[in-house]
């Protein structure tokens, strides 16, 4: 492997800018495509408040500016308010990823009273109970919407995430209308059920077929045009529709390689953030929770960040050319491709240093997929 040179090593941020924390292993739901349960992140241990508060003091000394609390369901922790007060006391901002069903008026009021909350992300998978509840459980739609309305009432910045699966892929227009018009959100994000955690067991029920993926891509691009770009995505059909169309256009025009193309550059996170499991073990990403880098309050975060060889392996991954892989041999998109998410590569193939077949454009086309028409694309 070509390793990062001394210059690249010297240019690394001194400490991570943000930290993703799985704050609890507990959740009141068992969504069919939850990446967490049965994955290496699911370690069945919650740390007590004191351990987190001690860790936040270290984050303060490291000048970390924000944390994202996930899990599990963060609002299930009875001491969540104390946890957040610890975050605030230590000069950080925070975001919370939630299923929305346990948000109380008191908690919403608290979140609305601090200027430190970036957003609370609520998962909402449809415009009506039928589609949402199909994967998340009966009654969860009403509860999630109630939680969301409480957040809105107390002026908390709400980010809705729609996970696209077989049961809601034909409900996207109504979902967009519900979120953007009825609930009046400024926007929402999308992804799709990925081959991780519980999703692996429920693939036939939730994973989009090639035709459904194509449908989702086209529908979301059309909706984004209609709603002036208020739908976002960093993964899933909308992100793929955009990226793959750019790649296809570049191939057609014989364009020069993309700056990030031709190598495993799909994940830039190890350059700015790091994650912690519910048991306090430090990992590169919650989705790569099998790579253990140390433990909070025992190992120094700045030392792990700067010196751990596994983390450098993740960073050095960016130098690995796609041409090295049999999987990519002869691919016309090689110069434009980033090899996609390493965590998905790991969960599908058991290796991190490999392009993820899930995000592979050639595979999508070979399986009969078609890219969206040009007029659907943003300029």
């Amino acid at each position: 492997m070509i390793e990062a040179g001394p210059q690249e090593r010297a240019r690394l941020m001194r400490t991570p800018q943000s930290v993703d924390i799985d704050i609890t292993d507990r959740c009141n739901l068992r969504c069919k495509y939850c990446y967490f349960y049965t994955s290496p992140a699911d370690v069945k241990t919650d740390l007590p408040l004191e351990e987190w508060l001690r860790f936040f003091e270290e984050l303060n000394r490291c000048a970390v500016t924000e944390v994202t609390l996930a899990g599990g369901e963060p609002f299930i922790r009875e001491d969540l308010k104390e946890i957040l007060e610890g975050v605030i006391r230590n000069r950080m901002r925070f975001s919370i990823l939630s299923n929305g069903t346990l948000i109380t008026e008191d908690m919403a009021r608290f979140l609305g009273s601090t200027p430190r909350c970036n957003y609370v992300q609520v998962s909402l998978d449809g415009s009506e109970p039928e589609t949402h509840d199909s994967c998340r459980g009966k009654g969860t739609f009403e509860k999630a919407v109630a939680g969301l309305r409480l957040l809105q009432k107390h002026k908390v910045n709400v980010a809705v995430r729609v996970t696209i699966h077989r049961y809601n892929v034909r409900d996207l227009e109504a979902t967009a209308r519900f979120l953007l018009e009825d609930l009046g959100l400024s926007g929402f994000g999308t992804n799709s059920a990925g081959h991780m955690g519980l999703c692996q067991k429920n693939m036939e029920q939730v994973e989009l077929t090639t035709a459904e993926r194509e449908l989702a891509m086209k529908t979301l691009l059309a909706l984004n045009k209609k709603y002036g770009g208020r739908i976002s995505a960093s993964a899933g059909p909308l992100a793929e529709g955009r990226m793959w169309s750019r790649m296809e256009r570049a191939r057609r025009q014989g364009a020069a390689a993309f700056p990030e193309g031709g190598r495993l550059t799909g994940c830039g996170c190890p350059f700015s953030k790091i994650s912690v499991r519910t048991d306090g073990v430090i990992v590169p990403c919650n989705m790569l929770s099998h790579i253990e880098l140390g433990r909070i309050n025992r190992d120094r975060l700045d030392d792990v960040w700067r010196n751990h060889s596994e983390l450098w392996k993740m960073r050095d991954r960016r130098s690995i050319p796609l041409s090295r892989f049999e999987f990519c041999r002869g691919c016309p998109y090689l110069d434009y491709c980033t090899g996609n998410c390493p965590a998905l590569a790991y969960s599908l193939l058991g290796v991190v240093d490999h392009p993820s077949p899930d995000g592979c454009l050639r595979k999508f086309l070979d399986e009969g997929g078609h890219l969206p028409e040009e007029e659907l694309l943003e300029p």
């Binding site: 010297a10 000069r91 970036n118």
Partner: protein, 94 residues
Amino acid sequence: MSADKPVANPQVVLREEFDDWAVLFDPDTAEGFAVNPVGVLIWKELDGNHDIADIVRVVREKCENVPEDVETHCREFVDSLIRKGLVGTEVTHD
């Protein structure tokens, strides 16, 4: 009345980076401000115990090629931090 002694807002985070530049991050507004290495030096003096004359002395001591009008630059820099809410001044009475 004696001179004002600027004091850094204790909530503001100084994120020093690899090239000695830094970002001052205000967690209440989520705004970040880039500061050069001299700015970092000045920031560290804003503890409420030093006035501008003290700060100028430190800059002259620790930096090379310091311009004649360094005091004006220091004052402008501190004023800009005050305007952004990153710094306040403690006024002491004789």
